[in-house]
Amino acid sequence: MIYLDNVAGTKPDQRVIDKMIPYFTEHYGNPSAHFYPIGREAFEAMEAARVQVADFIGATADEIVFTSSGTESNNLAIKGFLKNSANKGKHIIISEIEHFSVDTVVTKLINDGYEITKLKVNKGGLVDPADLEKAIKDETVLVSIQYVNPEIGTIQYTEELGAICKAKGVTFHVDAVAAAGFVEIDVNKLKCDMLSIASQNFFGPKGAAALYIREGVKVSGLLDGGFQERGYRSGTENVPAIVGMGLAAEIAKAEMAEYVPKLEAMQKKLWDGLGGLFDFLHFTGHDTRRRPGHVSFWIEYIEGESLLMWLSLKGFACASGSACSSNILAEDEDDLVASPVLTAVGVPTDICAGSLGMSMSRYNTLEDIDKVLEVMPETVQKLCEMSTMYNQK
């Protein structure tokens, strides 16, 4: 299996796993138990990880809150921040291509009297900073715009967006879940007040994520109880996963400069190769502002799930739409959600189901790309032959 769905989660680094194991077997204490070694060891390892994660994004350790997933970080950022700003204004700005964990949270706030502006994106998936500037008004309390879109790979003008928020005095949250480990993150350059990252997206384990909260920004916790995470998040901490996330952050920081160019080379090869195969293949997202190693497209006449399944049968793990949108477990066809991202970037609705994403990690090689390019023609040909649409051409 050649894994090309790294935007849905990466294979953890073996060094990370090796570092985690002793926190299952030896240092299994509860980190709130400060008065005996196996508790204290767990605590200190967690605090060391906090420093590593902070260093990774240019923050300080006490600006880092550990959570259990990118979704939880986004929920904490938005809901936790609004608990403290209810009387400052009720207008929130996001983009129309946010991840469900931002879009759903914000959309539900309409019930609480909030007004929501969802900024349009252009064909490349980019929010125009001028649009943000125009959209901000006196009542605006929060802007939340993702750094990288997982589905089409677009990297926003986040620095520019941050500068506008800062100038206007509006709190700025960045969902950087699909950016971390692939695009450099510096909370001071981005001028953001909050930022979400998730360990499993940069070679760390599942079960650990973080929310950066700039000093001075008030956020209330969503989970009440004990004194963990300085009150931002009660509950026994997932020490092994946090330790793993810490090392993954350190490794990403140290090694990104080395592996990102390789990802870019694979990306270019795949892009050029696919572009030359069929004239009815259309790339999605931006040509240059892309997550390194991310290529996404749709093919006329072919439905995405079928292509995904054929590629899987041939040994390639890819994505159709975001990992979340393939709600195959739904109880009802009405729960099958067409990707709002593709609609937003202008892909014709009736073939929205047809998108495919391939995202590489530092474990992929140029040979993997050769293999994809080898199987694509026959696979697409087979599905075209079967397709009512191709026929009608």
Partner: protein, 144 residues
């Protein structure tokens, strides 16, 4: 290896679709589409003088369940009489496929609808009114 969301039979029909293609001299062609899901299914029928399905082929733009449903439908259709075709429900297709995920049941419904559409066009192509199909369906319902 993990099974995936589809049964073995679905996967078999997806990978090796039966009766895929078109019939040049079809005397009944049905087409249904579900724009929301982006599926379009087409069934080509060749019905002989005894009202028996002599040949059937399909083309589908759609997901794995849509392809497998059409393929399985054609298998169940060959050799059947027109009356029997109208008794071929989506449930029978789902059963024959060893089940479908709930969210994908509509793919089998599309196949059922495509068969009916093809039959209507079969009668139309013979210059008849396709209300005959409604009569036959009413009769079947009464008998059951």
């Amino acid at each position: 290896m993990a099974k995936g969301p589809y049964s073995e039979t679905v996967m078999d029909h997806f990978m090796n679709p039966r009766n895929m293609g078109e019939i040049e001299d079809a005397n009944g062609v049905g087409e249904v589409g579900n724009p929301a899901c982006g599926d379009v299914m087409k069934i080509f029928l060749k019905i002989d003088d005894n009202n028996i399905v002599e040949d059937v082929k399909f083309k589908t733009f759609g997901c794995g369940a849509a392809i497998a449903s059409s393929s399985m439908a054609t298998e169940l259709m060959i050799g059947k009489s027109v009356e029997e075709l109208l008794q071929l429900t989506n449930d029978a297709i789902v059963d024959a496929l060893g089940g479908l995920p709930p969210a994908k049941i509509h793919c089998s419904v599309m196949a059922e609808e495509a068969i009916e559409d093809a039959l209507r066009n079969f009668y139309k192509s013979k210059g008849k009114d396709d209300s005959i199909v409604d009569e036959m369906k009413a009769k079947i319902t009464k008998e059951n």
